[in-house]
């Protein structure tokens, strides 16, 4: 099997009205065997910036640790949090450093920038940024996710409606993928609060 499909993953981020949502599945597998059903794929960098990493789980964990280290250094030097756009540049640079021996991950970055404007982007495994205004997807279920998001997405959704949309898109897409699923994890971020919810999904 391909290296990107070794562990299996599904990630999606969507933009709403002054808010964003980022969601992932919860499965960690070794090819077809499911090892864990509570794997954390999305991590908080700071209160208004979240990073999701799909692909090979070991590379995702290592890359995450490196990025947290770099962000903490930035916080010490600049005495403030990184803007999402800056963070995306940082991730892109770190991935390209390993151009000829890459991390087998596809990151999804979602954050609230200046004036609470939501920012989402994804990258391939060597750092090519893809900025989007509506949604970004990554993982083994990405093709299904593209289809689901394309049909379900609407502009300027309120937080509750955005949560419903991203949840339905995630669950229906992972139900067509053998390697991802077993529940869902959604973070809904507005300027004032972060809501974390676990989704009940098909466990097969």
């Amino acid at each position: 099997m391909q290296i990107f499909e070794y562990n299996g993953s599904a990630l999606v981020a969507m933009v709403g009205k002054n808010c964003f949502a980022i969601a992932s599945d919860r499965r960690l597998g070794v090819q077809l065997q499911t090892i864990a059903t509570d794997f954390q794929r999305i991590s908080k960098i700071h209160d208004r910036l979240f990073l999701g990493l799909s692909g090979l789980a070991t590379d995702a964990q290592t890359l995450y640790q490196r990025l947290v280290f770099r962000h903490k250094l930035y916080q010490l030097r600049e005495e403030r949090d990184m803007k999402p756009e800056t963070f995306a540049n940082l991730v892109s640079a770190i991935l390209y450093e390993k151009r000829f021996g890459p991390y087998f991950c596809q990151p999804v970055i979602a954050g609230l920038g200046d004036e609470d404007k939501p920012f989402i982007c994804t990258m391939d495994s060597i750092g090519a940024k893809e900025l989007a205004k509506d949604f970004v997807v990554a993982g083994t279920a990405s093709e299904s996710l593209y289809g689901a998001c394309e049909s379900m997405f609407k502009d300027d959704m309120e937080p509750e409606e955005l949560f419903e949309t991203i949840s339905q898109a995630l669950l229906s897409s992972v139900d067509r993928d053998c390697l991802s699923g077993w529940g869902g994890h959604v973070y809904l971020v507005t300027p004032t609060e972060v809501k974390e919810r676990i989704l009940k999904g098909r466990m097969d």
Binding site: E5, G8, G29, Q31, L32, Q33, T34, H46, D47, R48, D81, T140, D175, R176, D177, C178, L179, P191, T192, E193, K200, G201, R202, M203, D204
Partner: protein, 272 residues
């Protein structure tokens, strides 16, 4: 180049002049082979193309009251789920079932072919074919196609004069008689549950629940199994479908969600 079809010749006696009724069926199906320079290489490629990892879970076991047969219903193409509603338990005739694992087309075709041969046997011998005989017919057919890339991992379960019968037959030409079998990528997980909970003297309900649970656990752990867990029972009066439960719902039935009190954190929100 014509394939050697002597293995396919029907055992039905050829008394009397051949009639139209029997002719179409007793003539063994033959498949034209391609004209290539490198037939071995072609065979290898054909096998690789058709060889999915038998992504499925099927199981069958004999107990005091008869035979219990169960399977999932997912069809996968690599990582993509192509269907969640495939019938993997094939009804050969009213008292015999076959399970499907491996190539769907192969299993469906050869099971139907087996059903035809069984019916011909009944008409020719005025009595039903035994499970032993039916499984041997299928095994011989599959053996003659050994190496050609067929992918079949099936169990023939039925009730005949000697009581319940269960055989495992595969496309490598193997044929095994046994009391408990599970076939497919999810079989290790199903065996774990099945072997642990099995007793010869179970009631039909207990055996059905064991089969259902074993399939459920396999769908939970194996990525290539899922969908609906179907359970069939084969008794002295033939087979009967007992249940077809969606495993997504079975999970929450066996492990209901416990709402736990969550420790809410009050965190300072920066720049609110």
């Amino acid at each position: 180049m014509k394939l050697d079809t002597t293995g396919l010749e029907s055992s039905a006696p050829v008394w009397g002049s051949p009639s139209e009724l029997v002719d179409g069926f007793s003539a063994a199906p033959f498949f034209e082979l391609p004209v290539t320079t490198d037939f071995d290489g072609f065979q290898k490629e054909a096998i690789q193309m058709v060889k999915p990892a038998k992504g499925t879970t099927t199981l069958a076991f004999i107990f005091k009251e008869g035979v219990m047969v169960a399977a999932d219903s997912r069809a996968s193409m690599g990582g993509y789920i192509s269907s969640q509603s495939v019938k993997k338990i094939i009804e050969i005739n009213p008292y015999m079932l076959g399970t499907m694992a491996g190539g769907a087309a192969d299993c469906q075709f050869w099971h139907r072919n087996l059903g035809i041969k069984c019916r011909l046997h009944e008409l020719a011998n005025k009595r039903r074919i035994s499970v032993t005989g039916a499984s041997k017919l299928l095994a011989n057919i599959l053996y003659s196609y050994r190496g050609m890339g067929l992918s079949v991992g099936t169990m023939i379960a039925g009730w005949d004069e000697t009581g319940p019968g269960l055989y495992y037959v595969d496309s490598e030409g193997g044929r095994l008689k046994g009391m408990r079998f599970s076939v497919g990528s999810g079989s290790p997980y199903a065996y774990g549950v099945l072997d642990n909970g099995y007793r010869y003297d179970m009631s039909v309900e207990e055996a059905a629940e064991l089969a259902r649970r074993a399939i459920y656990h396999a769908t939970f752990r194996d990525g290539a199994s899922g969908g609906v867990a179907s359970v069939y029972y084969v008794g002295p009066n033939g087979w009967k479908k007992l249940s077809g439960d969606d495993v997504g719902e079975l999970h929450y039935k066996y492990y209901p969600v416990m709402l736990s009190t969550v420790e809410q954190e009050m965190v300072e929100v920066a720049g609110a």
